[in-house]
Subunit: 234 residues, 2 copies
Amino acid sequence: MAYTSEYPPFFVTVDGVVLTIRNDALCALVVTRGGEPFRGRLALPGGFVDIDEDLGVAAVRELSEETGISVQGLHVEQLASYGAPDRDPRHRTISIAYLAVLPDLPEPVGGDDASDAHWHRVTWLLARKDRLAFDHRQILRDGVERAHAKLEYTALGTSFCERAFTIAELRRVYEVMWGVELDPGNFHRKVTGVAGFVEPTGRKASRGTGRPAELYRRGPTASLNPPLTRATLG
Amino acid sequence: MAYTSEYPPFFVTVDGVVLTIRNDALCALVVTRGGEPFRGRLALPGGFVDIDEDLGVAAVRELSEETGISVQGLHVEQLASYGAPDRDPRHRTISIAYLAVLPDLPEPVGGDDASDAHWHRVTWLLARKDRLAFDHRQILRDGVERAHAKLEYTALGTSFCERAFTIAELRRVYEVMWGVELDPGNFHRKVTGVAGFVEPTGRKASRGTGRPAELYRRGPTASLNPPLTRATLG
DNA sequence: CCAAAAGTGTTTGATTTACACCCATGG
DNA sequence: CCATGGGTGTAAATCAAACACTTTTGG
């Protein structure tokens, strides 16, 4: 089947910046490209938008097809669009990037399809210019920057945690993202003191040694004003 | 000329949310549509992206063509993309929206081209569902929300002012955007105390009665941490 | 009982808020 | 010389940072 148009054709794709924290490091989900261009290179999961498909739906679908991850109920937001005329050597392609934030999953998220999806440390992916295909290095950078910024004044941090989490686990998210150590007491007070941020489940968690911690879940996500600030360095 | 492709055609447009403050109200720039669909309805300025044109360049060009406004050197940033399959009754169209913030201009910005561009109060434009064509109501809402948010933790407020401005003029921006009265003394101290926010020009301005105010210009735009907060209500 | 982590109390210092008050100009 | 807005001083209230200390578990 072929389409004709009096205007030159644009191609529209979606790409996903999917972040999680594994082994105390910020990691992003990447796939190995099977076809040209950039065959064998790492890339953000993504693909073409169907002609009658909503952008957000396409992003979720591609993530599921390429990596087997279901982001149902998880944090997904539109990040930005990328449309430099030469960003794809084949055609004029506009990519709408989405940002997803997940709790650490039980490793190899091999998908039904092109199942070589892997987590890589963001620092490693960004360390060299040529690790990622297309302009995906820039997209990843923008995604990480967005996540960074939203940590401070939204409850995005809770999206890195499981449904139920301890305050210490949430604190670890901030510590890894900011590369600092936070005072456990002050963090606890701050986070439990902001209305709508977290709410107690009533249950407790025994995480190894020490006193068991109260379990919390995401609250109705109030915006943080004043924002969380970095506290005492270790 | 006709183009053929094995994939269905997408159309790509840019739209601009152009904000300013006039007569103590937040206003947006709109044009009256000359063609179908939505002929005669108000719409955000925008249009089709050329096949070899960068998105940001297209946004600036359309603004200039449709409204005669040059946003050279002014604040322009990508806002978000809109691509619901039915957002344009004619074709599948993806629109990348840009946000621009300007000082109050000497009124009718009539462009070279479809020169019926006008400022309207944002509250009026948003008050009814059908004042704007397409999904431009949602786009405008998103732009206003973005501007609102960025006021608190960036120096975006200075973009509503002329090159040189008094602290009182800057304060007026915040008061109008937030619908509050701010304490002049505290605002002055806060704003001049944050490094990189504003820098003095050395000149003074005589605005009517009262002591002449020092003139400032935008600083190298430090991010505001802690952010500006709303102060005393009037 | 000891180590370790959770969570609370308390002190200190910084920041914000409220508002008094002086400054500089136009009429 | 008075009204008006610009800008600084200052005290009280609020908040954040540092850290001591109590609680509750596993070994």
